[in-house]
Amino acid sequence: MADTTTLSAPRRSNAILATLRQNKLSWVGLALLAAIVFMAVFAPLLAPHDPLQQNIIHRLEPPSAEFLLGTDSFGRDVLSRLIYGARISLMVGFVAVAIAMFVGSTIGILAGYIGGLFDQIVMGIVDVMLAFPTLLLGLMIAAMLGANLENLIIAIAFTEMAPFARVARAPTIGLKERDFVEAGRALGFGPLRIMGVHILPNMASDVVVMGSLWMASAIRMEASLSFIGLGVQPPTPTWGGMIREGFENILTAWWLAIFPSLAILVTVLALNILGDALRDAIDPKLRSENAA
């Protein structure tokens, strides 16, 4: 019974796949992202050196055959640190967005379903959070909580909840009046079951697409906070932290800052390309524009 009732609103996953097949640029994004994920997962096998191994004899060496991207001021291999750094960036980006997605869409669905004064107050707060610059908000929260991995994730997740609440609320308002939800209510399903089983699946694709766009922003913020010194603390290699170290030696050792900078750029660009293509796919208006 429950399965048949959820089917009454159209699924969009097929349309998304079809659009992705047409958009060649999205394949570039997907390939780049796959390569970075591969690099992060198999870091111990790919890294030529230990990312934490200091070597005072090989301090600040430019790129060479032994150290392909050079060494830092502790004589550590930049390439190995870059490969391991992908782990932190992807992990923080993924976990923070997953939390923001879960909490944000829960808030949005609740606000849309309950409506009334609750909706007005909650969405008022959401709008205020949307208006505040995310980087500053994240910076303040991370600074107040203290710099470590968990707090970094909390800070980023908190700043990115609001857009998910907005995206989840709008379809809820339309869906709660639909016949299949009405039918569920008549059958005596509780509000939690209706929201979770009958409303949530109908917007899941929108929320996930938003997630890929916001993951780009989360990775950018992780790097920014690490650069300021509010991220995962040294000696753990992070891209933002590496750029910070490179910035201190910018006049003498250009390779320290440039490679992690390019790594962040490529990762965020890949996610943005993919997110753009996905967004075009779920928005019929944009789809026709793109196909033309």
């Binding site: 505040f132 980087l135 910076l139 910018i250 962040i264």
Partner: protein, 312 residues
């Protein structure tokens, strides 16, 4: 018009109250004792007590809330724990540098973004369109400090055209040279946003009937684009510039840090490193007020660009 302005200004009041409430809650959500956080573990109980009463932490929460609101609305954003000066004084001292930077960035952004977006829309699905889309997507993907470091490496370290540090200088030429790289850095990010919106907004406008009519009348292409299309396409662009103002401020913080430029960014960083929580809270309030002001002004600007817009 004046009635509309007043109406819009009144609309900003509940937003401001909500923002202040969010900041108040946020600061109180911080785990641990702020007094210990400020004075350290070694502080005596007496000095901790003194700090708590100075911060008003011994009062009941609703008294603290009303007190906070009353002070913020009367322009009292608190006093820096480290320098002893008021938050407003601290902000006003560095604000000109940040405003100068953001204004220059907006100028560069519009100078690059408007033509690029228009060109892409006119040559849709040809190479200028693809090039502008890839360029703007790259600009959107750059974290502010990454682009800053790349610019620094190219223009200051490699080519040696411009200074690495960009602190204030009394000589006007030096002053501009110091402003160039930070403004270019923020300008590129802004240009990316403006290009994107100008392109899609121009595409919408170019499809309108009145454009076809104008074309049929024999209006030249230049006049068509500049007089008929761009003027109407500007409305969404202004909205986006207003909306991304917050992002611009966020990126200016990073830019100021990379170029060691005085401004709000360095003020925030200083407050963070010295654990100056009252200054931080005050800065959040100042930023909130700033952003609400910009959003309100953006809304009001529609009326100037597009006479059809009314506020009822």
């Amino acid at each position: 018009m004046i009635r509309h302005v007043i109406k819009r200004l009144l609309l900003a009041v509940p937003t401001l109250l909500a923002m202040l409430t969010v900041i108040f809650v946020l600061v109180r959500l911080v785990p641990g004792d702020p007094a210990i956080a400020m004075l350290g573990d070694q502080a005596t109980e007496a000095s901790l007590q003194a700090m708590r009463s100075q911060l008003g932490l011994n009062e009941p929460i609703h008294v603290q809330y009303v007190d906070f609101l009353a002070r913020a609305l009367s322009g009292d954003f608190g006093r820096s724990m480290t320098s002893g000066r008021t938050v407003l004084e601290e902000v006003l001292q560095v604000l000109p540098y940040t405003l100068e930077l953001t204004a220059a960035a907006l100028f560069i952004g519009a100078l690059l973004g408007l033509p690029l977006g228009t060109w892409a829309a006119l040559r849709r699905n040809a190479w200028p369109d693809y090039a502008s889309r890839i360029i703007s997507l790259t600009g959107l993907s750059l974290p502010g400090f990454v682009s800053a470091i790349l610019l620094l490496l190219v223009f200051a370290v490699h080519l040696r055209w411009l200074p690495v540090m960009s602190a204030a200088a009394s000589d006007p030429v030096d002053h501009l040279r110091n402003l160039a790289l930070p403004a270019l850095n923020l300008g590129i990010i802004m240009a990316a946003y403006i290009t994107r919106v100008t392109r899609s907004s121009m595409l919408n406008v170019l499809g309108e009937d009145y454009i076809r009519t104008a074309r049929a009348k024999g209006v030249s292409q230049t006049r068509l684009v500049l007089r008929h299309a761009l003027r109407n396409a500007l409305v969404p662009v202004v909205t986006v510039v207003g909306l991304y103002f917050g992002t611009l401020i966020g990126n200016s913080v990073l830019t100021e840090i990379v170029f060691t430029r005085p401004g709000l960014g360095k003020l925030i960083l200083g407050a963070l490193t010295s654990r100056d929580y009252t200054l931080l809270q005050g800065l959040m309030v100042v930023f909130a007020a700033f952003i609400i002001t910009v959003n309100t002004l953006t809304d009001l600007a529609y009326g100037l660009i597009d006479p059809r817009v009314t506020y009822d």
